[in-house]
């Protein structure tokens, strides 16, 4: 288990000091796949580099399986941490072929201050790893003869070769083109799930985070904003910017009619009518509040049909094939909202529609 406690790191730059990490706490269970998600400058890469031992934090403790890696009086050099890393661009050694890249860490394995060879023969281990990442027979290739996806897979094999207790991945798919990214992502996730390796991956791509992770950690301005399962975070984001970072969010002004009691639910009034919002923190009756709804939790139906919701006019629409989005302006408000519907049910611009919440809608009070 990786445990990061109270980690802080400040850089002094030309434009003044920048807090890359501010009292970051993090727990990564053994065998889990954790994704740290943040925009550039959020501190996620610094966090990864501190865990790898490439940066020394100003304060805080990093422990891996109860062994202190970085602490107030401890700093274990990267070569003694047993932490593997896959860099953004692969960072394959250009002067070594694929085989020697993967074998690089096998000869230098060090235990108890003494050098020893890896338990299995290096060559055999390299073959195993090449097979694992689906590159049998590529051992003699040089890195520049490989495609981007292949380079990343070699980088992964190289990092896995010494059997690291923790695997760090720094935006490993961002250099790949969009089509390849999805397939390599899936392959890597399945492969790592089979090995039961503890993985921390950092990315700015919310699709990557949501689709790969067991556990997502959202960082902003050097702080951890929220951590949890991907679906928890998507539907129950801690704040509006987290909500918008993870996907499109519809925000409606609302009034809290009845405050929460022991039940944890409140009744609110918004443009779509009166709604019960569940699982709410203690909140009193308020004139101004905001509701966050995901576009796929809104429905459109023909006007005139009875029911809840409100009528409005369709503005711009985007057709994506499998689904589409429509922007609808509700009557009597300047409020425009994005609604996601099946591609076949997409309304036309200018059409009059009734907008309502879908029955299973997860509405959040912000």
């Amino acid at each position: 288990m990786l445990r990061v406690e109270n980690l802080s790191k400040r850089y002094v730059t030309a434009g003044g000091p920048v807090d890359a990490l501010r009292e970051v706490d993090l727990v990564v269970e053994s065998g889990s796949f954790t994704v740290v998600l943040g925009a550039s400058g959020s501190g996620k890469t610094t966090l990864l580099r501190v865990i790898a031992g490439f940066e020394v934090p100003d304060s805080g403790v990093v422990t891996l399986d109860d062994k202190v890696l970085t602490g107030p009086s401890t700093f274990i050099a990267p070569e003694h941490r047993n932490v593997g890393i896959v860099a953004q661009d692969g960072a394959l050694f250009p002067h070594l072929n694929v085989h020697d890249n993967i074998a690089y860490g096998l000869r230098a394995k060090r235990t108890g201050g003494r050098w020893r060879r890896h338990s299995t023969q290096p060559d055999q281990r390299v073959e195993e790893l090449l097979a694992l990442v689906g590159l049998e027979g590529y051992g003699n290739r040089s890195p520049n003869e490989l495609s981007g996806g292949q380079q990343q897979r070699v980088a992964l094999a190289r990092a896995l070769a010494p059997g690291p207790g923790l695997l760090l991945m720094d935006e490993p798919f961002s250099a790949l083109d969009a089509g390849l990214r999805v397939s390599v992502r899936e392959e890597v996730r399945d492969l790592l799930a089979g090995l039961n390796t503890t993985v921390v991956l950092v990315t700015h791509d919310q699709n990557e985070a949501l689709s790969m992770a067991d556990h997502v950690v959202i960082m902003r301005d050097g702080q951890v904003i929220q951590a949890g399962r991907p679906d928890e975070l998507y539907h129950r984001p801690a704040d509006l910017s987290t909500a918008e970072f993870l996907g499109t969010a519809v925000v409606l002004p609302a009034k809290v009619l009845v405050g929460s009691g022991a039940s944890g639910s409140v009744e609110v009034e918004c443009a779509l009518g009166a709604i019960i919002v569940t699982d709410v923190q203690e909140v009193g009756v308020r004139e101004s509040a905001r509701l966050m709804i995901r576009p796929e939790h809104l429905m459109v139906s023909p006007v005139g049909s009875s029911g809840e919701g409100a009528e409005g006019t369709v503005g711009a629409v985007n057709y994506y094939g499998h689904d589409g989005t429509a922007r609808v302006e509700l009557d009597g408000s300047q409020q425009e909202m994005t609604i996601r519907v099946k591609g076949s049910e997409l309304p036309k611009p200018g059409e009059r529609v009734r907008v309502s919440l879908s029955p299973d809608a997860d509405v959040r009070l912000m």
Binding site: A20, G41, G43, F54, E55, E79, I85, A87, A108
Partner: protein, 527 residues
């Protein structure tokens, strides 16, 4: 620049350089500054004495001569170099690749060999003419020898510029020429300034060619006073002036470059620029190209081959084969030792300047350039002084000579190595650390192998400059030892007009000089 990038560029494991590395870099810097320090701190030196020497009536003409030479040769090299670079990159002149190679090859002819061949050719064709002597001769011969230093970087810069910029200027109503002058020329500033710096430093240091062409400058006067005339105080006083000039030239270069370093503009541009379709004028340009090649390469080759012919014709009776073999062996030995020495000594400076930019890195790198800017005669004099005082066993040995070469040519090794250090990026070193290698093993298994090609290039350039070096070698060589350069020089002592006796050494020097020139031309073509 995002935070992530800003620390990645400087950062490996620590934010400051390891103490061993900074210590080594500082040591190299201090050793490089030795010649400059010698000039000012030598006992017996006083500003009164300096002022006295400098106000001597013979001093002012020397300064004036030196300045005239700097301005005339500098300007004509810029005009010729930029003009030819534009012709080969932007016009439809025939065989552009061939011209790039031919305009680079003059780099392979040492200036003193070039001037000797000009004197020999002039003697051969016009025995009574003195056209080639004095400022006029020095101007012509040195321009033809040095213009490639502007030509090559300008070709690289012109090819690297984004053609879209000129195209936009055209679309906004500028003519071809106007667009070039307004948009492109200002962006060549770095290339031109860099080339001019090298040319100016060469001119300040040049002794052999100017002696041969009978044109007296500060450097020829320093050498004369230090050797033949035996007045070391006067030599030192003039050397101070020379050093001030060299530092001034370096400072001027910083000014010309301006604040922005646009050296890498459009490095990734792959689009080829528009060519100017020229009509009849292209035949005129072709004639200019041919004339430049005839004058810069044809004359040295003509005199050398004629001399060699005379040599063979004379039955070989005068061939001192043992001296030729001896001087080739010495040149190779000194070149090898200096190349290895400079490569090793340069390593800490190139590592620290790329990996840990900061005051220590900047100062140690600049310090090595100061030494390079000082003419060889100053380096030689200071090493003689230091060795006689504190390291007598070194005096009159080839070790002292090699030390001088290392100090003088260190920046060549550093500049080449920096490219390699940058290629062995710190992210690769970090990966190696995470795979279980400590700092030393990482250096041996990752950094060194990636650095090696660039370091080898630097070593070759050092070795070849050692082969061509004359002044320092003359002053520091152990008694009885010759290199190709000094052996050639000793056939003349700047007096004999016939190239016959010098021809074998000239041929050997031109052949070894052609190697780096070809390497440079090929690199330029690849860029």
């Amino acid at each position: 620049m995002t935070l992530g990038q800003s620390h990645r560029s400087t950062g490996s494991l620590r934010n400051h350089a390891p103490r061993l590395l900074s210590g080594a870099a500082v040591l190299v810097a201090v050793a490089s500054l030795l010649p400059a320090v010698y000039l000012l701190l030598r006992e017996g030196f006083s500003y009164r004495l300096l002022a006295e020497q400098l106000s001597a009536p013979s001093t002012l003409p020397l300064v004036w001569n030196t300045i005239q030479l700097l301005v005339l040769v500098g300007l004509s090299c810029v005009i010729l170099g930029v003009g030819l670079a534009v012709v080969v990159t932007r016009t439809n002149v025939v065989f552009p690749t061939m011209w790039v190679v031919l305009f680079t090859l003059p780099l392979g002819v040492p200036a003193f060999v070039g001037s000797y061949t000009w004197v020999a050719a002039s003697y051969r064709l016009m025995p009574t003419s003195t056209f080639i002597y004095g400022l006029r001769g020095a101007w012509i011969v040195l321009t033809l020898a040095l213009f490639p230093y502007v030509f090559l970087p300008t070709v690289v810069a012109l090819r690297g510029l984004d053609p879209a910029q000129e195209e936009v200027a055209r679309s906004l109503g500028d003519s071809t020429l106007r667009a070039f002058m307004k948009v492109t020329l200002p962006q060549l500033r770095v290339a031109i300034a860099g080339g001019s710096l090298i040319i100016s430093l060469h001119l300040l240091a040049e002794y052999g060619a100017l002696q041969m062409l009978r044109f007296e400058t500060l450097t020829t006067a320093v050498v004369a006073r230090a050797t033949v005339l035996g007045s070391p105080e006067a030599a030192r006083a003039l050397a101070v002036l020379l050093a001030v000039g060299a530092v001034g030239v370096v400072a001027l270069d910083r000014l010309l470059r301006g604040p922005s370093s646009s050296a890498k503009v459009g490095a990734s541009v792959s689009r080829v620029s528009m060519q100017w379709r020229l009509g009849a004028i292209r035949w005129l340009l072709l004639a200019v190209c041919i004339a430049v090649v005839v004058l810069s390469l044809g004359v040295p080759l003509y005199a050398t081959l004629l001399g060699l012919w005379g040599y063979v014709g004379s039955g070989g009776a005068t061939v001192d084969w043992s001296l030729l073999v001896h001087s080739v062996a010495n040149t190779a030995r000194y070149g090898l030792l200096a190349a290895v020495g400079a490569t090793v000594v340069a390593l800490p400076v190139s590592m620290i300047s790329v990996r840990y930019p900061g005051p220590v890195a900047t100062l140690s790198e600049r310090a090595t350039w100061v030494a390079h800017a000082l003419p060889g005669v100053i380096v030689a004099l200071s090493l003689v002084y230091v060795s006689v005082r504190w390291a007598y066993p070194l005096y009159q040995t080839s070790y002292l000579l090699v030390i001088a070469y290392v100090i003088m040519f260190l920046p060549l090794a550093i500049a080449a190595q920096q490219v390699g250090v940058a290629q062995a990026s710190s992210s690769l070193e970090e990966i190696s650390r995470s795979l279980g290698d400590g700092p030393w093993r990482t250096f041996r298994r990752v950094t060194l192998p990636l650095l090696l090609p660039a370091a080898a290039t630097g070593a070759v350039f050092v070795a070849l400059d050692v082969g061509k070096e004359l002044t320092t070698t003359l002053l520091l060589r152990p008694t009885g030892q010759h290199t190709l350069a000094t052996a050639l020089w000793s056939t003349t002592e700047g007096e004999v007009l016939d190239f016959t006796a010098a021809a074998p050494y000239g041929v050997a020097l031109i052949i070894i000089g052609a190697i780096p020139a070809t390497v440079l031309a090929r690199r330029t073509l690849r860029s």
